[in-house]
Amino acid sequence: MTQSPNTWHSTRRPSSGLLIINFILLLVLLVLTIWLAHLDLQPYNGLLALSIAVLKTLLVALIFMHLGFSTKVTWVFALAGVVWLGIFFALSLTDYISRGWAPRMDNISPAIEFIPPPPGIHSHPVVDQSENPGPPAHGSAG
């Protein structure tokens, strides 16, 4: 790290060597994330890919964007967007994730008289499962 001869800022700056090392690290992480994506690590694939993305962003921010060499105020400004995004995620997903938990109107017997089904439902026996193996899940329907 060198003291810049420029008079326009007072903070220290990363050296060109550090910039290049940072770039190589980023490339390594890129290769790593692609390699991991081709392994079956369910259910951790998504989590790993995102963690690497966070790591890469940190490297870019800290070194390329000089955040690691900046004042506390700059840190606050840089983090603000992330914190607000976190609020946005947390409270939106509070709704979506808890939708299924809502107290349900279970265990209610329908107040409806039973109507005998039309022919074709109970009169035909169900074909045994083993005789009718289905193809794997998400194919298109007929």
């Binding site: 809502a102 107290p103 349900r104 109107m105 279970d106 265990n107 209610i108 017997s109 329908p110 107040a111 409806i112 008289e113 039973f114 109507i115 005998p116 089904p117 039309p118 022919p119 074709g120 439902i121 109970h122 035909h124 026996p125 169900v126 074909v127 499962q129 009718n132 289905g134 193809p135 794997p136 899940a137 998400h138 194919g139 298109s140 329907a141 007929g142």
Partner: protein, 338 residues
């Protein structure tokens, strides 16, 4: 209703009285605070008005006072929250045994289907003192089902079912409004709720002898759309499906509630039942919301049938066998509806 002057709305459901109690509690505190603040401002304005010989004093920071009123307001506000939360949780689920009525909102009318088959538009007849659960769907945009006298309101969002319930306590006629702006004739999307004595309600129900019950209508659709040609054979049987846990091809299970049944009819490929080929076509854009309600009512009515043919039901499909009598029909009618 039909009065020319009203200061406070009719309270005609169990919930309405509870909401009003909370309302008056908040009113009490609001009045105290407003009178307190306004009274202080007026007092100070008079007492400390600028006049010859009067000089202002200095008042430094007073942390004890600041923290006192901060935590006092917080405590009062939290009492509002907990009371409100308690009622809201109670409001969120209908009690067991509520009668179910299906409501479809569309621009710009409310279509109501009673399980016994009577249909009405912009009118809703219900018996007094019986909990009524509404399952609501919208055919186009977001509507809002609002009965001020019951203090209930529920947005009806297209693409999913909404629920609300009430227990009317006073016979009479009450307003039904659409509360969510839904286009040109939003303000004309209103109706009337008739709360009837049980005998009057029975008479009203019998008023249309030719009515086809919703389950029968569903059964007809079931044949008309050839659902019966697959279900029970190369597709899972539907008997006993409602409110069971269905194993899916990805290893998870899902509760077969109305939302699941609806999704499986419209988007069959979304959740594939374990062990079955995904051959069902999508009925998206082919069935109206009313037809969907009828089909689902029919599927729900099939719940006892699994007991009659245990051998043919794929293992695991009936996770939680519903309470039923062993013969499978007819299911006891717990509410004694004629």
């Amino acid at each position: 209703m039909n009065r020319t002057f009203q200061l406070f709305p009719d309270a005609a459901s169990r919930m309405s009285h509870q909401v009003d109690h909370l309302f008056w509690y908040l009113m009490l505190w609001s009045a105290l605070l407003t009178v307190g603040v306004a009274g202080l401002i007026l007092t100070f304005a008079v007492r400390y008005r600028a006049r010859p010989g009067h000089r202002q004093g200095f008042l430094g920071p007073h942390h004890a006072l600041e923290w006192t009123w901060t935590f006092a307001t917080l405590a009062i506000f939290l009492s509002f929250f907990f009371w409100g939360a308690d009622l809201y949780i109670g409001e969120s689920a209908a009690p067991a045994g509520a009668m179910e009525i299906h409501v479809v909102g569309k621009q710009w009318m409310w279509k109501i289907q009673h399980p016994e088959g009577r249909r009405e538009i912009n009118e809703l007849h219900v018996p007094v003192n019986r909990p009524v659960k509404l399952i609501l769907a919208s055919q186009d945009v977001i509507h809002g089902f609002y009965v001020p006298a019951f203090r209930i309101k529920q947005d009806v969002v297209p693409g999913r079912y909404a629920n609300t319930w009430f227990q009317p306590t006073r016979p009479g006629t009450y307003h039904l409004f659409c509360s969510q702006y839904c286009g040109t004739e939003h303000s004309a999307m209103t109706g009337t709720v008739y709360v009837l004595e049980p005998a009057d309600y029975a008479a009203w129900l019998a008023g249309m002898p030719t009515a086809v019950s919703e389950v029968q209508a569903g059964a007809q659709l079931f044949v008309q759309y050839s659902c019966h040609t697959c279900h029970g054979q190369q597709a899972p049987t539907l008997a006993g499906l409602y409110m069971s846990r269905v194993p899916l091809s990805d290893g998870s299970t899902v509760l077969a509630d109305e939302a699941y049944l609806r999704e499986s009819i419209l988007y069959p490929a979304a959740k594939i039942v374990a062990g079955y080929p995904p051959i069902m076509p999508s009925y998206h854009n082919q069935l109206s919301e009313e037809q969907l309600f009828a089909l689902i009512a029919y599927i729900k009515a099939l719940r006892g049938a699994s007991a009659t043919q245990p051998a043919t039901t794929p293992p695991g499909l009936v996770g939680e066998p519903p309470t039923t009598n062993p013969t499978g029909n007819p299911i006891t009618n717990p509410q004694g509806i004629p």
